[in-house]
Amino acid sequence: MDLMLSVIAVLATLSVGAYAVAVIDRICGVAMGGEATGGAGVHDRRNPFLAPLSRAAALWLAPPHVTEAPDAAGWRLAPVLYLTLAGMGLAVVPWSETFVPVDLATGIVLWGALEPLATVLIFLHGWSPNSHLPLLGGYRYVAVGLSYILVSMFVLIAVALPAESLQVSAVVESQQELWNVVRQPLGLPLFLIVGLGISFWGPLDFADSNDLAGGTSAESSGRALLVWQFARIAMLVSFSAIAASAFLGGWMGPLLPGPIWLVIKMVFILVLLLVLGRLLPRLSPERFMTLAWTVLLPLAFVDLVWAGLEALS
């Protein structure tokens, strides 16, 4: 029974969350003047609540496309496995004191492990269509992947320190008195970059960018593309849950029940990520790597030392 409830909670959060992200992104876009609004009789297309559904339906019905001699299994599996990673990441996040879909003693380590695995899958998605631009997207992602994954490791270890545990529920409870966003001020900003990286969103969209005609998804169409886009948004949702738990006190909050608080905090993180995604341009991979290794990584060290000193005192 508990297992059923856990599975349903994770799947429902991913699907409702992905829909919510699409709606929020569209509202952000309209507010920032970045959505096409011209043309006669487009009022129903401007409806942000219907637009994601109609686009999904259009992709579902669009014809599939196969390249010459692809790695068919890899090409099909990559989006599904990437979606699975998003689900695994979400499963370790506690919704209340008692309800944690999978209360893994090493939840933080699991998150650390998801990030390199995501790199493998994004490369697989770029490599398997047997085409140039997707392959370049895959190359590029692998090249920059490590530079944000390391940042993520240090930042996550830093939140585990005050909790004296690698369990996500313990990390949430350690924020009873003070949220980590205040206790470790460098943590959340650095972790947001990880969020943009793992879902290759906005300024960190090195895998599926415009200059590669869509990168790893340049050869995808129809349902395969729908699953890939869904998985990418689901990863963003999953990331927002872990970020809310690690830095914003997760399910804790006055008056309202735990799950509601978690959702409110997730939406806050998502809005931040989506606005950043629309606002910031993409650096060249080389410049990002320089920034990551010379600025972000040292800052992550500082964050860890800060957390250590704070834990000692």
Binding site: R55, A57, A58, H65, L136, L212, G214, L279
Partner: protein, 420 residues
Amino acid sequence: MNWLARLACRAPVPVYPAIGRNALPQIQDWRLDARLQWTRSPRQARILLVAGDILPECRPALRRLHDQLPAPSITLWWRSTPLAGLADRAVVFEDADELGTIAGDACRSLLLGDRQGEPNLCPDEPPAPFEGRGDHGQGGEGMMGGKPYGRPMAMTAEDLRDGLELDPLEFSIGPFWPVLPPGLAARLVLHGDVIAEVEITSAPFPVDLQPVFEQALERPVPIADLEMARARNHLRQLSHSMWLSGLESASLSVLRQVQALQPHDSISGLCERLRRVGFFFSAGAGRGEISLEQAERLGGPAARAAGLEQDARTRDPEYRKLGFRPVGGRGNDCRARWQQWLDEASQALHLAGRARSSGAETSYTESVEAPRGNVQCGRYPADASAILSELLPGLEWSEAMATIASLDLAGVADPGEGRA
């Protein structure tokens, strides 16, 4: 009518553009139409839009592009002659405002199964047969290299960067890739994501001079009109560079601003916004440095940014009366050229404002400074795409694409040579 198909009919129509001669500004205007969704790859489109005249040498590429849309698909022709093989069922239209409706109807008929897609134009066979040298008949050595199924496979050779023998990958891009200027096609060799070799296989389509600049060669024209055309042109170019760097929202709002642009408008808000979000550090900044000789060949804003004081407007006393002095000298890389567009657009709006109030007209008709560069009767800026083979090697992919987008490469068509 299936409810899913009905829902799908409400989505914007996925269209891939094959951009022909002089169609780029219209394509950019269409980006603001919410009924259309411009796909980045032909694989994701259901409608192929051929806009503008396609030169005969690019027609084979258009046939291939046509077949790259997953079937069933429909092709629409705007100011273009349909390909042989599609002529009997071609949807041809003239009025740009109609695209939203026509594309919507076409897509709906595909979704509801009312209409068959178009037949493929190329034979369904690998462009290069899977035979030749190599252990697996792929044409390379060992298990590497060659062109299995027409897709070049990486082969070892000396690497540009670190001396490791890595993976040169050879392939072609263009001439209908919206990231590049319309008509530009190139054969590339890449080491990883670094460009090692560029060979231009098709130059960008020559662009017609805008009427107002052509008139300026014959008689005095209002300076305000010239400068507004210049400001619009530069902002359009900038919006493409912004789109390329991932600033899609901001790029659309620039296009919207272009449509409503008036003399005296200020773009300082845009400059400030771009500076704040770090656009001037995005891919391409500090790269794509052109030599003085290349700057000379390019002319226009790129040359002025690189420090060449070439501007036909300095010879016009009317411009001098308005206090015109060329801006430039910021540098020879992409960042300098983005800033140059902004500076010149801002200056053009200011000049247009002053000229509109005073009713100033040009007084010098020997030559005119068009957005692309200096135009004299009988001497039009020539295609400059050849400089890419010197400029791009050594650049990482996104820097190379940003560099191409930061340059105005297409030649200006000589009206004397029988414009279509």
